[in-house]
Structures are given as C-alpha cells and as structure tokens.
C-alpha cells in the first residue's frame, strides 16, 4: 500500500471527476437536442443510468471486466469489488482504478439514451441500463482492457473509441431501430419531418462540458501522471475536436447552404470520439486528420441514418459515437506513428484494429438485440402514442420541465 504514487492517483481521480462531469454534458446535449416535453425524462434517464450503473458496476461489472481472465473472455466474478486485483499491477489504489472505470462504464451506458429519446418507457430504459453496465460493457471491456483476447492481439483502443463509444453507439443503433421512429418523424409518403431540439444553448453547453471532460477521459487513461504523454494527449485531443468542428461546419455549409449549428456541435464531438483510440500514438497532424475524417463522417452518417435508413436518432448518437468511434479506431492503423500504415508499419495493425471494431460491433448488436427484444416482448419498450404526444415528462414522471413558459403548443404536439 505504501508504494502508491500520490501524484498518479491524484491525476486519475481528477480525471475520474472530469469524466463524471461528462454526464452533465450528455444530459444537456440530449435534453437540448430533443423536445421540451421530454426534457425531464432525459435528465432522469441520464441520472439513473449513472447511478444504477455505478452501483451494479461496483457490485458485479468491475470483476467481470478486471477479474483474473478466463480464457481471455471474461473476468472472474467477485462481488462488491472486494478482491485485491493485484494481477493488474496498478501504481494507484484499487479504489482509484474502480472509480475511474465506473465513470467510463457510465459513459458507455448513457450514450444510448439520446438515440432512444422521446419514446422509450422509463422502466425499460432502467432495465437496459442495468444489463449493459452489469454485463455487456464489462465483458467487452475485458476483451480489450482487462487482459482479454483483443488486448492480447495488440488491438489499440487507448481511451475507448471502440469499447466505450462504439459499443454505446451500436447499442443506441439497435435500440433506436427496434423502437422505431418518433411519431410524425417520417410521413407515410416517405417525407421527413424534422423535429427540432428545444434548447440549443443548453446543447452547446453540454458539448463544451463534454470537451472539458474529455481531457480527463483521454488524459486519465494513461493511469499515471506522465508529463510527456499527458501533454501529448491534451494536444491531440484538442486538435482533433477542433478539426472535427471545422470540418462538419464546412460540409454542412456546402451541402445545406448554411453552417449548421447542431451539426457543427456534433462535429466537435465526432472529432473527440475519433481521436480517443489513438490519442497517445498519433502525431498532432495525425490527430487533425483524424478529426477531419470524423467531422466529415459524422455529417454523412447522420444523413445516411436519418434520410436513407430512416433510423430516428434525435441527437445523432449513433453517428457520433458508433460510427466515428469505429472510424477513429480504424484510423489508428493508419496514423499510428508506430505501426501505422502511413508510417510504414504495414497493414498488420490496421487489420487488428478492423478485427476489434468488428468484434465489438458483433458482440454489441447480438447482445443488445436480444436485450431490447426481450424487454419489448415482456414489459414493452415503447410508450403508447398518447404518452408520446403529451410527452414523457407528463405521462412518465408527472412533471413539466418549464412550468412558467408558454409552449409553442402548435409545433410541440404535431403528430
């Protein structure tokens, strides 16, 4: 116990605090990009997936992820995280590692709420959230970070483009697809009716909070206060996010005639998600390239999902986290200064990266498909149409989020 580095511990704990704060960012982005009549429900979902997730990850998930590996597939069960976990060889106390991993788990879980917003039963969301934090995320996490087979293969996902963001994004895709679109989103004639977010300033605040927290998300994943690598991570994280925003703005300007605010905000997040896998091993220039790719990808992905596939994802979670997480992870195989294609490393790393992305996608689609279908067939996944029209705040929670303001009733409840 005497050997822990106080400095490393302090950094990991501060980073955990920053990642915790990202929950506020998610809540604000998701609330801001959806309708006022469901804002309380979004808040509640974000709050509860964090709290339920914190508890169940402590009780069970942590051990499945970091317990001694069984054949590289799953960690050994140990309730209440009471084991010693000496095999991890940490320089920080186990509890510091636990809290840091807890907030990561909660991040993966919370991504889904935005994509399934405005029509999911609260009860069912709670159940989903319990299962993903207890089992689905920890097992995938074990594969990559817990001593599992993907980590062994050399898969590089430094702070979780794949294990956190893609996993969350694919779960979001499965959920949004099984749920179906919000009432009124797609006309019978194939027309698309946009449903606007109710609070762009709040959404933007959420993006700034997420970006702020991301310095902890990426930086803390060093698990030690190493001067050079921390500094490098801050720089690459910031450049990729900046480039993501610039790119998304440019593309939206070109394609839709005006620089779109919410898409540009998505672009910054896309850059952040994209750089997360390789933030430690790509150069600043590589980071800017990855940011640009993510910023471009996110706009096209949103279009594809919303307009072609007609999967209704109100906040763009699938595109930002799922698709850009995958793209960013793959990009490591190209831009890694050691082993990357562009740096003469050949296709070896790239193939491993592709394998990891595919494996996690498969795992997530399979497990969440079963999960959501099971929920749908038992307690039901979706509220009824009266509840949806009047809003989840009123029907699911008996509240209204903005009691003193006159709503634009006309627009608010068009079916």
């Amino acid at each position: 116990m005497i050997d822990y580095s106080a400095l490393d511990t302090l950094w990991v704990l501060l980073a955990a605090g920053l990642v915790f704060f990202m929950q506020a960012g998610f809540a604000m982005v998701e609330a801001g990009f959806t309708r006022a009549k469901n804002a309380g429900n979004i808040i509640m979902k974000n709050l509860m997936d964090f709290t339920v997730g914190s508890l169940i990850y402590w009780i069970l998930g942590f051990s499945l992820m970091f317990g001694v590996s069984n054949a590289g597939l799953i960690g050994g069960v140990n309730f209440l995280s009471t084991g010693l976990y000496e095999h991890l060889g940490l320089t920080i106390p186990k509890e510091a590692f636990l809290i840091f991993q807890t907030v990561f788990c909660a991040t993966a879980a919370t991504i889904v709420s935005g994509a399934m917003a405005e029509r999911t039963k609260f009860k069912s969301y709670l159940l989903y959230s319990f299962v993903i934090s207890a089992v689905i995320y920890p097992i995938a996490g074990h594969w990559i970070w817990g001593g599992g087979w993907l980590g062994e293969l050399g898969f590089h996902d430094f702070a979780g483009s794949t294990v956190v963001h893609s996993l969350g994004g694919w779960a979001a895709l499965t959920g949004a697809w099984i749920l179906g679109p919000r009432l009124g989103k797609y006309g019978k004639d194939g027309s698309i009716h946009p449903i606007k977010g109710h609070n762009l300033t709040l959404g933007a605040l959420g993006v700034f909070i997420l970006w702020f927290g991301w310095f902890g998300f990426n930086g803390g994943s060093t698990l030690e206060a190493d001067a050079v690598s921390m500094a490098h991570i801050f720089v690459t994280t910031n450049l990729a996010a900046s480039m993501g925003a610039v790119m998304a703005m440019t593309i939206s300007w070109t394609r839709y005639g005006k620089p779109d605010v919410s898409i540009t905000l998505n672009g910054a997040l896309a850059g952040l998600v994209g750089i997360t896998a390789g933030t430690d091993i790509v150069s600043p220039l590589g980071a800017a390239c990855i940011g640009a790719i993510a910023g471009l990808t996110v706009v096209l992905a949103i279009e594809l999902l919303d307009q072609k596939l007609k999967v209704d994802d109100p906040v763009g979670a699938v595109s930002v986290h799922g698709i850009c997480g995958a793209v960013g992870t793959i990009a490591v195989g190209i831009f890694a200064t050691e082993g990357g294609l562009l740096y003469g490393g050949g296709a070896q790393l790239l193939l491993v990266q592709l394998t990891g992305v595919a494996a996690i996608a498969l795992w997530t689609f399979a497990t969440t498909f079963v999960l959501f279908k099971a929920i749908d067939l038992t307690i039901g996944l979706r509220v009824n149409s009266e509840e949806e029209v009047l809003g989840l705040d009123l029907k699911e929670h008996g509240t209204e989020s903005y009691a003193d303001f006159e709503p634009k009733v006309l627009l608010d409840t068009i079916q």
Binding site: G398, T399, P407, V409, I414
Partner: protein
C-alpha cells in the same frame, strides 16, 4: 359587400392543426390564424402530483383557429372541422361563428370579399 362574411373560431386539441389545415385548404379556405389558449369546459385536468403534493390543473392547453370566410359556406367549414376533429371524447372542443362587418387586405387595400381571395 352584399355577401355576408363570418368568422369561424374553432377551439380544439393541440396537435390537430395540421390535419385541420389540410382539410380546410381542400375546401378552398387558405387563410387562418392560430393562437395558443388555455381552456376549461366539460373536460377537466387530470389529477397530478408535484413533489408529493396532489393537485388538479384547472385549465387545459388548446388551440384556437380563426378563419374568416365568405364564399365558402360556414356549414362546409363546420362539417370539415367536425369530421377532422371529432374523437367523440370530451375535450374535442367547440366552434363559434361570429358576424364580420368588413375585411381589408393591407397590401393593396382590397376590401370585403375580394380581400379574402388568396391569389397573390
């Protein structure tokens, strides 16, 4: 101004406007003005709960759609509104018809029935 002009005021549930508008447009009624209102009538608010305290809201959100017509008969508008808006449940709302003395189009000064003609 030989033809009488009427204002038909329809108070109904929010969320029904798009359907009503389309139906009225088909009838040739193109101009209308919509307002958010709160109403009470037969329909009462549903009991709710704020931080543990039960209460019943005394007013419900409604929309008021006003359209001033002359050539299209009032009955036609009423029939259309009844068809589109009726659910048979309490809260479907009411239609009030008022006499109108005159109409003027600001843009070109047209008066009376001509001012209601919506060809630019």
């Amino acid at each position: 101004m030989d033809q009488p002009i009427f204002k038909v005021e329809i108070i109904t549930r929010p969320g029904k406007f798009e359907a009503l508008k389309e139906a009225l447009n088909e009838l040739g009624v193109m101009g209308m003005t919509v307002t958010n209102v709160m109403g009470c009538g037969v329909q009462k608010g549903q009991p709710a709960n704020y931080r543990g305290v039960p209460y019943t809201p005394s007013l419900l959100p409604k929309i008021k759609v006003e359209t001033v017509i002359s050539e299209v008969p009032v009955e036609a508008v009423i029939d259309v509104a009844k068809k589109v808006l009726r659910t048979g449940e309490i809260g479907d709302g009411k239609i009030f018809v008022y006499p109108v003395s005159n109409v003027i189009r600001i843009r070109n000064g047209d008066e009376g029935v001509t001012a209601l003609d919506n060809q630019p």
